[in-house]
Every structure is written in C-alpha cells, then in structure tokens.
Amino acid sequence: MNIARYTKQFLVAMVLIFIVAIGVVSTYGLNLGIDFTGGSLTEVSYTVAPEQAMLEEELDSLFEEGYSLRQSEDGETVGYILRSRDLSEEERETVYGVLTSVGEGGVVTRFASIGPVIGEELKDKASWAIAGVVLITICYVAFAFRKVPKPVGSWTYGGITILALIHDVLVPTAVMSVLGITFGAEVDVLFVTALLAVLGYSVNDTIVVFDRVRENLLLNEEKKTGKTFETVVEDSVKDTIVRSVNTSLTTILALGALYFLGGDTTQLFALTLIVGVLAGTYSSLFIANPLLVAASRRKKA
C-alpha cells in the first residue's frame, strides 16, 4: 500500500481509466430506454404463447417505422415484450387487440407509453440533480476541511472528492455502455437513480479517508512527530482500508442479494450499484490519496 512511492503509477492508472471509460461512452453511447427517448413498451403473457413469426406478421402492418419484439420468460409464464414508438390511446387499443388475438390466454401485464417531451425533460432533470450534488459536495468538503493543516488547502480536498466522484460515475456508465451493445441493456430512470446513489456512497467513502488524513495531520502537528505529509497520507490509508473494504463488502452483500433475487426490474440497478461501489472503494483509496500526495508535491515545487 505504498501510495507515496507509486503515486505516479496510480495517477497513470487513473488517467487510463478515464480515457478508456470516456472513450467507451463516447464511442458506443448509451442505449437509452423509452424513459428518455419516448416510445412504448407492451408486455404480454400467455398460457399458450403464439409463434413469434405469427405476431410479427400482424404487427408489420401496424408499424411502418419498425418495432422490436422479444420473448420474455418469467418463471412459468411465457410472453413477449414489444417496443415501438409512443402510442395514442386508440393505437394502444389496437395493439392490445392484436397481441391478445393470437395464442391463448393473452393478457397485457405491463404497458408504458412515454411522450418524447417527458423523456427530454427527464434528461434535463437528471443532469441538474447530478450537477447540484457535485456543487453542494465540493462546498461542504471545502467547509468541513477549512481548518486542515497545510500543505494542501481545503478546496483541493473538495476538488479531489469531485474527481473521485466523477470516476465512480464514469465507470458504471462505461460498463452500462458495453452491456448496451453486447446485451442490449437499456438505460432507464432506475439507472440514473443508481448513479445518484453511487454519488452519495462515493463521497461518503472519500470523506472517511480524508477525515483520517485530517486527524493524523493535526496529531502530527500537536505531537511534533515531524512526519512528512506523504507518510501521514499513507498511515491514514492503512488506518481506514479495513473499514473501506468491510463497508463495501456489506453493501455488495446486500446488493448481491438484490441482483440475484430481486427480479428483472432492479437487476441492472443492482449491477450498476455494485460496479459503482467497487469503483468508489478503489477511488477513495487509490485515486483520492495519490492525488493528495501529488497536490502536496506540486505545492512544494
């Protein structure tokens, strides 16, 4: 755990993570779901499901601009999920009619049609919420660490917290981007919620380590032990690493249960969080602290 000696390596790793993650997200983008793009989703289940080709034949005449039909299995019931543009009330009834006219015991179990305006607005709201959290975090950290002994100022602590936070959001976003092109995973409101939760977790995790740095710096000053800043940072990482690992472990245990047992709807949510928590633990130890050390070196130079 030699932060001071390997500062450069940790920082190079950080830059690489950022480049790869940003590269992935900007190349492949995110597979936005209807929450954002507008559109409709109709889930139908049958006691005896019809052939997919049979349904498609019926649907082809209904949708000129394309749709997607995917088989879904939930335990013993078999059904289909239809995605298309957003539907008016009359169109909805037509689609219901078509879906339930074939096969046996067809019932529509879920329907959502979202206008494009609402999706657009959701994007806005999500961006503002994230920006708000970032802003308030940097201010709070700068305030809470205002009495921290030199060489690094309290706004630097705030700035580093934000950098770690961006890392923690970027990594699960990149993972989602990859899942989007490989498995067609869609980004929905729950994904945004998961990212927002990662924000909260990430800040909490980074602050705990910084709190220890703050305390050890004060102790160092009081007792005049004359340790260098780098040594103090290193000691603080050693002091907090068990806590960091244990907390992420308990969180991942709970999320793992949600992932495996919590059903389809929240599976991607759980996965996003698991990736986010892992990223958060990594960044609070191996990004935040090397950056602190680097900041102190720059001050000296």
């Binding site: 709070y140 945004v192 995790d205 244990n246 709970a254 949600l258 919590g262």
Partner: protein, 446 residues
C-alpha cells in the same frame, strides 16, 4: 480500575443496564408495531405501495397553456385538478391521486402537467375516456309528482353560456342583503331560449346539472330577458365560488393531451414485491453473518443495531407514510448494506484503541468520539445529496431520495444510540485477558 478520571465519568452499572433495556425495548416495540400492523390487514398503518408494486395505471396529461395569461395558470391548473378529481372519483378507485406537476424551473420549458394515478385500474380505456370527456352543463325543469321529482330537458346547455360571475347581493335588491349570488350571461341564442323557458315556468325550480349531477336548483322568479340571470340559493361564499367555477370551467379550463400512459398488472407488481422482500431478507442475513464473523461480539451488537434500523425504517415507511416503489425498495436494500458503515467505523476505531492497551469500555468510549467526525461529515454529504435529489427529482427519484435520506439519519441514530448503549454494558476487559477479550478483538491485524 486504576484510572480514576475515567471512573468518575462512568455511569453506574444500574443506569447502563436500564438504558440498555430501554433501547432494546424500543427496538422491540418498533419491530412489534411493524409486524402487527402488517399482519393485521385492517390496520391504520399499512405499507403504502406504489403503482409498480400494487398494480394500476399512471397517466400524465399535458395542459395547453398557450393563450392564457401566465399568472392565471396556477389557478387554472387547480381548477383542472378539481374537475379531473371529480371525474376520477366516479370510478370508485381506492385512493386515486391527481397531482399538478409543473416542469422544473431549471429546464426552461414551461409545461404544466396533471398526473393521475389509479391504483388497481389496469384497463385504462374507460378512465381515459372519462377524464378526456367534455362535461355537460344542463338546465332542466323540475316537475314534482307525488312520488318523485322528474327532470325535463329544456335544450338549454352550457353551449349557450357566455360566462358566470360571483357577486354579492346589494341591500336594495329586495332582500338579497349581502348574500353571495351567481350572475350568469348567455349568448344571444341562449338568451332567447332562456327567456322562453323562464316566461312559461315562473315559480318553478330550474335545476342546473353538471356532469349529470344537480349543482343547484334555483326558483324562477320572473321571465328573464336580456340574457342574464342571477342564481340565488342560500349559497355560502364558497359554494357560490365553486358554482361559478363549475359554470365557467364546466368544460375543462385548459385543453389537455395524454402524453404518457403506464399500466402494471397487479400480479406482476406482486411478483416484484415478493422478490424484493426476499432479496431484502437474504441481504440482511448476509450482512448480519458477515458482521458476526468479522467483529464477533461487537458484530452481534451491530446486528441488533441493524435490526433496530430495519424496524425503525419500516415503521417510518408506515407512519409518514412513504410510498414504496421498486426503486424505493432497492434503495432500502442498499441502505441496509450502508447502515452498518457507522458501526464498522466505530469498531475499527475501538479495535485500535483496545490493541493500544486501553480496557474495552474505555476503548469503546474513545472509539465513538474519535469516529464521530468521519460519521458526521460522511453522513452530512449523503443527506445533502438526498435533499437535492428530492428537490430536482421526478416522482420516482423522489421516492428513492426519501428512503435514502431517512436511511442516513436512521442508520446514524441506531449506530450511535443502540450500538453504544449495548457496547458499554459489556464487562470491561483488557487485551491480554483470555477468551472474553478474544470475543471483542476482531479481524486481521493490518
């Protein structure tokens, strides 16, 4: 005990015992409250489930406010809400929700929406038809027979109404002292029709119907020409104002368009709920097992704190009440994992103090006070995030933010109160003192 300074600060064992019993009792009572109000289906405190778990429909209408003075919009939206609420109530759905939602100031676009939630309704066809219907204002003559009152169509409807105004009767107008009255004006065509009707039915009541319901039934005093009339009927000011609104806005005050429909089948929701509950139970069990294995005796205490945390949160969900959605449930499960964080922070500190030679109780005390700044700053930023999410978020995100925010506060409270109280009733021991000391020591040495 050789350290007298510490001995002075110590509360008596009796006090500590009483505190511990009190804490356990409160935790137990909360648990019992949650259990009994869940088992008893007629309790006043059921879990409030969101549409995605209970099944139902979620409709979003966008109001067209073009051509309306922007200052009037909030008022018009409220009237719109009232009208829609009345229509939705026809369905007899339990607890329908009709809400005005204004798009956030920050996004720039100025749109006004009406969110209608209908629990249990999955066939939205009738609901959509009813909500979008143009309402009917009718004037009907009343013929009282021996058995019942018959209403006779006059052909005069809201189509002929120009406007209605709330007035207060002046003292000089034959007995109408200061009484609130509703003055209505018909269009030219309506005025003729109205004159004909009133001329031939003086002394009879003329019933005013809105959406098939009698709103008021004033008596025709005289033949009325000129196309204006005053409806007096012993109204309270509120009733008169409502009537004016109903007359003016009998048709929806603003045109609305359905922009989003979501329906979820109850069985699908129930499935989601049971899966969520299973995940929650297993999640708690895993976290408990980990804490016990790693931290031994303090881990057991953290387990008690975690269970108290769960009971406190569930009780809050019931009492506040918090509408539970799949996102909220997931947020709660996440918070279970995070809730032990404060405990982990404290225990790691205690372990350090214990290993540095302090006796276990002293280590516990200083562990708490030293971990406090980290707990405070960490939770404070989480709480601020939750507040921002609640502010900016859509309803789904709001549900999550509420659970997350409550979770932060509740976990801090249980970790500090429950864990602390239970830790300091343990007999004091030192590191070298055999088996019991090993129960307190934990984890690997780093």
């Amino acid at each position: 005990m050789e350290d007298t300074a510490v001995q002075k600060k110590e509360t008596t064992p009796l006090m500590r015992g009483i505190q511990a019993i009190l804490v356990l009792l409160i935790g137990g009572l909360l648990g019992y409250f949650v259990y009994s109000t869940t088992v008893n289906t007629e309790s006043n405190y059921p879990f409030k489930l969101g549409l995605d778990l209970a099944g139902g429909s979620h409709l979003v209408y966008e109001a067209d406010v073009a051509g309306v003075d922007s200052e009037e919009v909030p008022e018009l939206m409220n009237v719109l809400k009232d009208v829609i609420e009345r229509r939705v109530n026809i369905f007899g759905v339990s607890e329908p929700i009709v809400q005005v939602e204004t798009s956030s100031v920050v996004s720039g676009a100025d749109s006004h929406r009406l969110v209608v939630e209908l629990p249990g309704v999955t066939d939205v066809k009738d609901a959509v038809a009813e909500i979008g219907r143009t309402p009917l204002l009718e004037f009907k003559l009343v013929e009282v027979t021996e058995e019942e009152a018959l209403f006779i169509d006059t052909g005069l409807t809201g189509r002929y109404l120009e406007r209605a105004v709330l007035q207060f009767g002046q003292g000089n107008q034959g007995g109408l002292s200061n009484e609130p009255v509703v003055s209505i004006t018909f269009t030219a065509e309506g005025a003729d029709l109205f004159e004909t009707i009133t001329a031939s039915h003086i002394g009879e009541p003329l019933a005013i119907f809105l959406d098939g319901e009698v709103m008021s039934s004033p008596i025709i005093n005289e033949a009325i020409s000129g196309g204006s009339a005053v409806i007096s009927g012993n109204f309270t000011p509120t009733e008169a104002r409502d009537l004016v609104q109903n007359l003016n806005f009998g048709a929806l005050p603003l045109p609305i368009a359905l922009v989003s429909t979501q329906t979820i089948d109850a069985s699908l929701g129930a499935n989601l709920l049971s899966e969520g509950v299973t995940a929650g139970v297993i999640g708690v069990a895993l976290v408990l097992a980990f804490m016990l294995l790693w931290y031994r005796l303090p881990g057991l205490i953290a387990g008690v704190a975690l269970l108290s945390y769960g009971a406190l949160m569930l009780a809050l969900f019931k009492v506040v009440p918090v509408t539970l959605t799949a996102a909220g449930l997931a947020g709660f499960i996440l918070s279970i994992g995070m809730a032990v964080d404060a405990n982990v922070l404290v225990f790691e500190r205690i372990k350090e103090e214990f290993r540095s030679g302090k006796d276990s109780r002293e280590a516990a005390r200083s562990g708490f006070s030293r971990a406090w700044s980290a707990i405070r700053d960490g939770n404070m930023t989480s709480l601020l995030s939750a507040i921002i999410l609640f502010w900016f978020g859509t309803s789904l995100v709001k549900g999550f933010a509420l659970v997350f925010g409550f979770g932060v506060i509740a976990s801090m409270l249980t970790a500090l109160v429950v864990t602390r109280t239970l830790l300091i009733i343990l007999p004091s021991t030192r590191k070298e003192e055999g088996f019991f000391a090993r129960l307190l020591d934990s984890g690997t040495h780093m």
